[in-house]
């Protein structure tokens, strides 16, 4: 592990089992990776790299024998795989061999009769149970839900939102899955999730955003919260490259920030 400014390593890392994201800079910040079984909100506005980070998390896991499950709400999985093929770190075999399984959530909705405008408590239970059974069937230890925001469009009551996120986190944790929940938020300061309750329930929050520096718009990443591990809260500049997500310390000076 190379030393990254702002990382907390060594004795602070503790004995918790880690799920290495495979994104070197991020693993350094997290003292070796996300604590296994954690549910992490990956929050950010459009075009900040949430989906790419999540996909790379699954691919890096699959390469070391940790199966992945990607639940796609808004984009057809065939298209996601097509886009993923442009990255050098991705190999089609990972999908063909079932090491990463893509599930189109709209199909799930259709099969489970969840096509109504608002999900009931019973619907939420059925949905969570189904995600759990799919995680078990695929043997996934890494799960991505892209996006939580799209699912929550159908869950309007705050107590049901809380109930859904809590139950989902619990069942995936019970199955030793480390989970990323993608959350779409608007730019500017404010809550890290549309309902403002999601970030309080999950174990961790990775915030992605944009910032201006000398006329350029840079993507930035910040670990806001991660239970079970010490971590830096510094902001890092990230770059989405064909070989994956690269991180560098954000050199401060002459910037005006936006999210």
């Amino acid at each position: 592990m190379s030393a990254t400014p702002g990382s907390i390593s060594g004795a602070f890392a503790g004995a918790l089992e880690r799920c290495r994201t495979g994104i070197e800079g991020l693993d350094n910040i997290l003292s070796g990776g996300v604590p296994k079984g954690n549910t992490v909100l990956v929050a950010g506005n459009v075009g900040t790299g949430k989906t790419t980070l999540s996909l790379e998390f699954l691919v890096r896991g699959a390469e070391v024998g940790e199966k992945g499950l990607f639940l796609s709400v808004t984009e057809a999985s065939t298209r996601l795989i097509q886009n993923l093929s442009t990255f050098e770190f991705f190999r089609q075999e990972l999908v063909h061999e079932g090491r990463i399984v893509f599930v189109d959530v709209p199909v799930l909705y259709e099969k489970l009769g969840l096509n109504r405008d608002e999900l009931t408590s019973d619907d939420i239970d059925v949905f969570v149970r189904t995600i759990e059974s799919l995680a078990r069937e695929t043997g996934a230890s890494r799960v991505v839900v892209d996006s939580l925001t799209s699912i929550l469009y159908r869950i309007r009551q705050p107590e049901r939102v809380r109930d859904f996120v809590l139950k989902l986190s619990q069942v995936l944790n019970r199955n030793s899955c480390t989970t990323l929940l993608v959350s779409e938020i608007g730019g500017g300061p404010g809550p890290l999730s549309p309902h403002g309750v999601e970030e309080a329930i999950v174990d961790g929050v990775i915030l992605l955003g944009n910032t201006r520096r000398q006329g350029d718009i840079l993507r930035v990443l910040q670990v806001v919260k991660m239970r079970g591990t010490p971590h830096s809260r510094a902001q890092y500049v990230i770059e989405l490259t064909p070989i994956g997500l690269l991180m560098a310390p954000h050199l401060k000076g002459g910037r005006s920030e936006e999210r």
Binding site: V101, P106, E110, K111, L112, G113, V126, S133, L134, E137
Partner: protein, 258 residues
């Protein structure tokens, strides 16, 4: 057969023909031959105007067979089994969903195509009927046997609105429609709304008598002509219902009143 025959029962047709508006809706209620009377109404439209026959308790083949029993040719009529379509597209899907929700969903099941593609509009009985009505462009005959089924599976307001749509199309195109209803199984308000929009209400009855039944029809309502109300004893002949002659000697099959 007169070209303006409604049921081809002169004792009933003649007073109605003179007083019904151009474009009307009838409610056929009660028991003892409502389904046959609805078929007889449809049969006498065939060859003259497009005839739409919606059944909710018989298969299409059963309707055609009933026509065949009286030597009527059903080939010029569109017969649709609404209950069958509803079962295939709604109830069977609900059954499949209930099964999946109960015992879980596997990846293999996820890969099998859904009955309706994701994003496709769900089956809607009301839209189905209104779509057919909208396609009509001239005089027609429509039978809905029975509206009870719709009242069982749809909100009452939607069914009453559908009945209004039928009436509106009948009025604008000069069509006529027979809606079969069992009033005793619905609340008074629902029945009242349907009776109110009907131009004609025919109530049928069958009273047991020895080894047969007395069949009768009461014309309960002719819009704006309450004086046209009438009681008429019926028998079933080779060509469907006939008015029972005063001497009881009509060529009847069974159900002939003594």
């Amino acid at each position: 057969m007169p070209t303006d025959a409604i049921f081809n029962i002169p004792e009933i047709d003649e007073p109605l023909t003179a007083f019904l508006p151009d474009g009307w809706v009838a409610l056929v209620t009660g028991g003892g031959g409502t389904h046959l009377l609805a078929k007889q109404f449809a049969r006498h439209g065939i060859g003259r105007v497009p005839v739409l026959y919606y059944t909710t308790h018989e298969r299409v083949a059963d309707v055609e067979r009933a026509f065949g029993d009286f030597g009527w040719d059903a080939s010029g009529m569109q017969v649709r089994n609404l209950a069958g379509e509803y079962y295939d597209q709604v109830l069977s899907r609900e059954l499949a969903i209930a099964r999946v929700r109960e015992r879980g969903l596997t990846l293999a099941e996820l890969a099998t195509p859904t009955a309706s593609p994701v994003g496709a509009p769900s089956f809607d009985l009301t839209h189905r009927l209104i779509g057919d009505l909208a396609a009509l462009d001239g005089r027609f005959r429509l039978v809905l046997d029975s509206i009870d089924f719709l009242l069982d599976v749809l909100p009452v307001g939607e069914v009453v609105n559908l009945a209004r749509q039928i009436r509106y199309r009948a009025q604008t195109l000069g069509g006529s429609a027979c809606l079969v209803l069992r009033p005793e199984v619905h609340d008074r308000r629902t029945v009242g709304a349907l009776e109110d929009l009907a131009d004609l209400i025919l109530r049928m009855s069958a009273e047991p008598r020895h080894d047969s039944v007395d069949l009768a029809l009461v014309i309960e309502k002719v819009r704006n002509h309450p004086e046209r109300g009438r009681y008429c004893r019926l028998a079933v002949g080779r060509d469907g219902f006939v008015a029972h002659p005063p001497d009881g000697g009509a060529g009847t099959t069974k159900g002939t009143p003594s």
